[in-house]
Symmetry: C2
Subunit: 417 residues, 2 copies
């Protein structure tokens, strides 16, 4: 007799047939005695189609009206899921973000949840109903409709789970869970039964996009257990929890990679205070996320400044960088959009020296040159030539014995020791 939040993404509700499939999964939980809140996204590519429709009306859709438009996608889904449930004899009711009382700030297209009033939720749950909530959307204090940004339905699900203190927040997706590496690149990659919030957050921001990072932050803040699992079968997926590595003490949990990377180098930047601030605050103002930053003192009074951005932000970034560089007295701005990033993530890293060295060794053994390095307490990222990326991921994955086969033999060795 638990209290569950289940979230289904756009692929899971893309057609009437899939909606009925999703409804059957929900019905199973309901008949199993659980109280269930369901969060759904817009059907299939609805959101993209609505954005395209807006662009046919105006080149620059105003953000408030874009949110008014986009929020209809989830509203269609919740109505249909509630219909499918009722058709199967499960009492169900759909609620928009506004109706469920998800109050946000007024930053249209990427609003943040401020509070959730749970009165209506409890009322419907107490009446024995499955509550089907529109993901991705909320309302401001003055009742204007907002959306939470791409992937915002994950955030809705976790926020609801936190607000009603659910036992678990199940995120149904088209992958089986979180793997030690992308299985398409590393065939021996293993499904992780459990992972910590911190590791998940690094994985998500490093390119293994399974959950919206904000939803993981929120889960960490409120201690919500997220269960990432497949909507196609019943096997358990990956649980994201506060402390994951306690029993198994694995140093490295997974290897991720990211191809959406571009490198920019400004040569001979004057080496004086405020230069980096000047440049990066201009980029931040445009919402451009700067990832790795490496500054190398080359000769007296000047340095080379290397940093990376998403490849999709490259053109916009270059325009600004060239202007700022020129104002700083240099015109030598170089860029490379054929780089990639390979990273190791693991909460155990912090207390295990030599982890980074082992990664560099694995890359060196493959003859792969490292162009830049960035580290945090639980991750090490290396910037390399994109053409070596898959090989790098496999080498690093092997080096830390993360594969299904290696893990087995390690376990055997451990028991023989």
């Amino acid at each position: 007799m638990g209290l569950l939040v289940q979230k289904f993404g756009g692929t899971s509700v893309a057609t009437p047939e899939r909606i009925r499939h999703v409804a059957r999964r929900i019905a199973d939980r309901y008949h199993g005695g659980h109280r269930v809140i369901v969060v759904v996204s817009a059907m299939g590519h609805t959101t993209d189609q609505l954005i395209e429709l807006a662009r046919q009306v105006t080149a620059q859709p105003p953000r408030r009206e874009l949110d008014m438009l986009l929020s209809t996608g989830e509203q269609v889904s919740i109505a249909l899921v509630a219909m499918a449930l009722q058709d199967m004899g499960v009492p169900a009711i759909s609620l928009t973000g506004s109706q469920v009382g998800i109050q946000t700030d007024g930053v249209f297209t990427r609003a943040r949840i401020r509070r959730i009033s749970t009165a209506r939720l409890h009322q419907e749950l107490d009446a024995g109903r499955v509550v089907v909530v529109a993901g991705f959307q909320g309302v401001t204090e003055s009742m204007d409709i907002t959306t939470l940004g791409r992937g915002g339905s994950d955030t809705t699900a976790v926020a609801l789970a936190a607000a009603i203190q659910a036992d678990e927040c199940e995120i149904y997706t088209d992958v089986d869970g979180v793997y030690t590496a992308d299985p398409r690149v590393v065939p021996s990659a293993r499904l992780l039964p459990v992972i910590s919030y911190g590791e998940m957050l690094e994985m998500a921001s490093l390119g293994a996009v399974v959950l919206q990072p904000r939803s993981v932050e929120l889960a960490a803040q409120y201690g919500v257990v997220i269960h990432v699992r497949s909507s196609f079968h019943d096997r358990e997926g990956t649980r994201v929890v506060a402390e994951a590595n306690l029993e198994k003490a694995m140093v490295v949990t997974g290897v991720t990679h990211d191809r959406n990377v571009a490198k920019i180098v400004i040569i001979d930047v004057p080496d004086r205070p405020g230069v980096a601030h000047r440049l990066f605050s201009e980029l931040a103002a445009l919402g451009i996320n700067v990832d790795m930053i490496v500054q190398t003192a080359k000769q007296q009074h000047t340095t080379d400044l290397l940093f990376t951005v998403a490849r999709t932000d490259l053109d916009q970034t270059l325009a600004i960088v060239r202007r700022v560089a020129s104002e700083l007295g240099t015109d030598d701005v170089r860029h490379d959009a054929t780089v990639g990033k390979v990273s190791i993530v693991g909460a155990g890293m912090v207390s295990n020296p030599g982890v980074a060295a082992r990664m560099f060794g694995a890359l060196a053994a493959e003859g792969i040159n490292i162009q830049a390095i960035s580290t945090s307490e639980i991750k090490v990222s290396c910037l390399i030539d994109e053409q070596h990326l898959d090989r790098a991921v496999r080498a690093v994955h092997d080096a830390f014995g993360l594969g299904a086969h290696e893990a087995e033999s390690e376990a055997v060795e451990a028991s023989q020791a």
Copy 2:
């Protein structure tokens, strides 16, 4: 410097291009110094497509969820119209039924408006914005989304015009206005510059579907002037007002016809009190609208009972009629779905005896047999064989001198007299 409500139907906003066209019309009014509230329907066939989607999920979509689903259609339209207006430099904001404060009862799929809170409307108008409101929808006191039934956007527009005491409620449509007869049947039919609420109501319920009857009732109740006009050009259409015939004293304003008619006759019904009540209350309970009712005493103690329903309700009606008839001791139930109705409407009829006789004479001269007659203070309807319907409309239209040519020659005669 007036206060206007403008309503655009689904055809007018069917594509991004038409939405921009509509926005230009609104912008003209705005730049002309008017304060404007716009009401829009769902784009093109959106509502039908959403209903079809629901039917793919369940054979019997629950009404609350159907309203949740259908209301998205208008929400898409208002966002796009507001975007198009802003693109043209007109400050505009879209509001859902819920946001604008259109409160209804809880009868899903055919809710009735209870009250409109005008605070947000006035706030936006005072800020110099065009307010684009979703037609067809409202919310209950508990914030559940309702819809007002087919054509409900007309009702939204009139209700808003009443609530904010607008100078005029313009209903843009794909016809030029209200004609003395259907121009496709009677080529000489004339556009009526003005018509009374009562006449419009009879026209609407008699098959000349230009406005949702409920919207006309509401306009009559609050004295809202409705201006029915074309969305394709700028010419004036038909104004629906309290007293239309004062100056011109036309006895008959228009001729309408209706093909969606089926006749049912129950032979030898026992002639005792309560029989009609029994039958018609069962039909009413199913929402089946009974139109003409004629009871003919044939022999002692039994009568024949003739009545008409919409042809689309025939099967459902027959099932009930056969059961009730059998309980009353007769099994002789006949029906005919090849009938049609021709009607004359005119507020001047009441003070002009002989109007009905003139209509019957016109039909007799064409050799058309009248199967049943029903009258009100401002209309006379005759049930005839459907195959004679077009000819009947033309004959009656001629008999009352309603055509463009006749009206002209009458005017000439009058000036010569």
